[in-house]
Symmetry: C2
Subunit: 244 residues, 2 copies
């Protein structure tokens, strides 16, 4: 009998935003798999869980979880590193598979929600290749999008309104998108903040754009007009919400 | 001293998808406000909370919470009812304000997440008019969007992908939207399901469209090809996710 893999979204940072279900499963499983990548989120997922659940006596596996190369993400690997990345991915798949194969249930934790920009899905495809019958359950988490909107507070959508969620690297398309959407959520704004700000200012949208960093955490920043965002406000865990 | 108003997203149906924070606040506050409208969700929010938290001895206020008129929503009010609606809205604002004015903390519960298609925000504007200093805190909840994706399971977005969330009444724009988005989430599909299905079939997208009803509930339905959705699968709490 193989163990069951739970993929648990632990929310955006506030340990209390873990769900009752996530907390229960984390108490029950003997083993946690914690992604260990280059991005800041790697250690955050574990620190969130540690504040909500007693992990004493549990096996904690740090899995190499390198990032996929994507357009505009300066912190990710150069093509020459592709082979190294592939080896590391396979190591992670083997580590996770070995734990499950010995019949141990395991929780893979990921910040936010597993279905929103979580690299777990890359791992998932490889795990399914090895074992198409893998018992797996996804437990949703509060995404940084909902948490940020709650902290402003603003409604992302009412009645028949439309929302677009796009990485901030698409900022040149901002005006076009706002022509057909009521709310625009810009993700991954950290590395391209200045470009996004300039684009929004040019479009006359700066005062309709709210910057939220580390929503729900002690050092959270909510800036209602992105022209007022300073260098010290900038953070890896940030979104911009533009509401028409 | 006025009481504090907590607006709590109780998730899409599974009581365990309530957050630790939502559950704690619901245990602490002496009074709950439960929206009582025409839509099925009205009673669901309370039934979710009742399964997760002991409400014995708490004051439960049923607030009239009529729906705003929106395009394509057959169950909502005709324009001739507008004055009646307005009176009912004002009654709700007065009821909530009166409880807070006597210094009682109150939790307003709403299914899913308060920032995603929750009518609470209409009430919010009116409450702020009465009391601009109203102490209020929004507690995010798992939205039906994230819960549905987790149950398929599928990723809504990876790397630099884009998501559009639109009411299903926009289905004629489907093909155009899929030209520039990787994932399309169609909300409020219940009343227009046949039209949406026909549009997706015509666009050759039926097999890429997943229908999810009552995600995470006992009578959940996940149908991986929307051509296979039957009359008995149709439900008010449903979404369609189209993944390119």
């Amino acid at each position: 009998m193989t163990g069951k893999l739970f993929v648990i979204g632990v929310g955006p940072g506030d340990p209390e935003l873990l769900t009752l279900k996530g907390a229960r499963i984390l108490r029950e499983v003997p083993c946690l798999c914690v992604p260990k990548g280059r991005e800041e989120g790697s250690s955050l997922a574990l620190s969130i869980v540690q504040k909500a659940v007693d992990l004493t006596g549990k096996e904690i596996i740090e899995a190499h979880f390198p990032m996929k190369k994507t357009a505009g993400s300066a912190q990710e690997a150069a093509p020459s590193d592709a082979r190294v990345l592939d080896t590391k991915w396979n190591e992670t798949v083997e580590t996770v598979s070995a734990v499950l194969a010995r019949g141990t249930d395991m929780a893979f934790i990921t910040i936010g929600d597993p279905t929103i920009y979580s690299t777990f899905f890359y791992l998932y495809d490889r795990l399914l290749e090895l074992n198409p019958e893998l018992p797996i359950e996804f437990v949703p988490g509060i995404s940084s999008i909902n948490a940020a909107a709650a902290r402003v507070p603003l409604s992302l959508s009412l009645a028949d309104e439309k929302i677009a969620i796009v990485p901030a690297t698409y900022s040149p398309d901002l005006e076009k998108l706002l022509g057909s959407f009521d709310t625009l959520v810009l993700m991954k704004v950290y590395k391209v903040f200045d470009t996004v700000r300039k684009t929004l200012e040019k479009a006359g949208l700066a005062e309709k754009a709210v910057y939220v960093a580390r929503a729900g955490m002690e050092d959270e920043r909510v800036v209602a007009d992105i022209r007022k965002v300073t260098e010290s406000d900038l953070n890896y865990f940030s979104v911009i919400i533009v509401r028409k």
